[in-house]
């Protein structure tokens, strides 16, 4: 992959992850440096890991390749980068996403004095463990992503989930339409590897934040597949109206095409 291809792909992933600001000139170099540092920290940890348990490297190319297979994992990693997690904790997050188990996690905080996080991972062989420690306060952000659950009434943190980041600047979305029911924008939020678009539809208001109406997937025949949120029936009807209006304005072919 050439440098330009790599850059284009990463910018696309940042857009899809709603982390566009990381690709702005003031942030771009720092992002690449942080990903480089992460790759080096990962390689240091892998020196003592039996071969075959996890990928031996975590270069930018490796991360971009993983996006093709598991886009949500890369989105999670980039969110941790955006929250300024240290390379050490990025390695911990990445190894967990790749199938390691969190055996223990402890966090200590004293106001204006101390913030320390310690995590122990068990690798997929069930025996090898790696310990991670950090006193970098920004690493506390990983607790935001922890998938907290219970197994048989016992505590469990299975892995990390990316947060939902609200859309920014909806007026800049890919499509916009005005109807008798209101004004709506639609953004293609399908992962970069997807052949078909996935439209996230928002109702846009003049003086208040936009409201997400739901999602419209496009099936292999180019037909819309509606998925609305909590107010299921109302959302579904609204999505049908928006799809019809968008189709009249842009043409159905445009709705079946990826934006990126």
């Amino acid at each position: 992959m050439t440098k330009e291809q790599r850059q284009k792909l990463l910018v696309g992933i940042l857009k899809e992850s709603r982390l566009d600001f990381l690709s702005e000139p003031g942030s771009w170099a720092a992002l690449l440096q942080r990903l480089d540092d992460f790759g080096e920290a990962y390689a240091r940890h892998m020196v003592n890991v039996p071969p075959g348990l996890l990928p031996s490297t975590a270069s930018l190319d490796n991360v971009l390749a993983e996006h093709d297979r598991n886009p949500h994992r890369v989105r999670m990693l980039l969110q941790a980068v955006a929250f300024r997690c240290s390379p050490e904790m990025l390695v911990m997050v990445w190894m967990t996403l790749l199938g390691s188990q969190i055996r223990s996690l402890s966090y200590k905080y004293s106001r204006k004095q101390k913030s320390s996080l310690a995590v122990s991972l068990q690798l997929p062989d069930g025996t090898t463990t790696i310990a991670f420690e950090s006193s970098d306060h920004w690493d506390t952000a990983v607790l935001r992503f922890a998938a907290v659950s219970q197994v048989d009434h016992l505590p469990m943190i299975e892995d990390f989930h990316p947060m939902w980041i609200p859309p920014q600047d909806v007026w800049k979305h890919d499509l916009f339409v005005e109807t008798a029911q209101g004004s709506f924008s639609a953004a293609d939020t399908a992962p970069a590897a997807s052949a078909k678009p996935c439209w996230e539809v928002h109702e846009v208001f003049a003086k208040q934040p936009p409201r997400q109406i739901g999602i419209i997937d496009v099936d292999e025949h180019g037909h819309p597949v509606y998925g609305s949120s909590a107010a299921a029936e109302d959302g579904r009807i609204l999505l049908e109206i928006v799809w019809g209006a968008l189709a009249r304005k842009y043409g159905e072919e445009a709705l079946n095409r990826r934006v990126k």
Binding site: L54, R69, H72, L98, G99, Q101, P124, S149, E158, P191
Partner: protein, 129 residues
């Protein structure tokens, strides 16, 4: 023949299909560390968690281990294979878990954990009540 019970779990709107499957398969691997995952649409099998490309999956079978996988291949839905496979189907905002006996300890544990991690506010159970 053995039957199946469908359990529907509501998943958050922002959680994509692959991500939901990644999470529940991870739950299953906690119980069955040598589980075999099969893509229901292509038949392709994954023999370790690291191999699985969840971004492309919508429907999968997760077998307890290679022995269970072979037995299902040979016998199909036979009583000998009871509770050795879980079937997951994810569609927009919903994960359907198909198990033989939802009251069997491992099946119950898998379903409970999936509910807990994917639907922490219990929307699915409130909707079913």
């Amino acid at each position: 023949m053995i039957g199946g019970t469908d359990i529907v779990v509501k998943i958050a709107d922002d959680l994509r299909s692959g991500e939901a499957l990644d999470t529940v398969v991870r739950c299953v691997f906690g119980k069955w560390p040598t589980a075999v995952v099969q893509d229901a649409s292509t038949g392709v099998c994954f023999f370790s968690f690291a191999e699985i490309a969840f971004g492309h999956l919508r429907e999968i079978f997760v077998y307890r281990d290679k022995t269970a996988f072979d037995s299902w291949a040979n016998l199909g839905a036979d009583p000998a294979n009871l509770n050795t496979m879980v079937h997951f189907i994810v569609a927009r905002s919903e994960l359907t878990i198909v198990v033989d006996d939802p009251n069997e300890a491992t099946m119950e544990s898998i379903v409970d954990e999936a509910r807990c991690v994917l639907d922490p506010f219990g929307y699915s159970q409130r909707a079913a009540a």
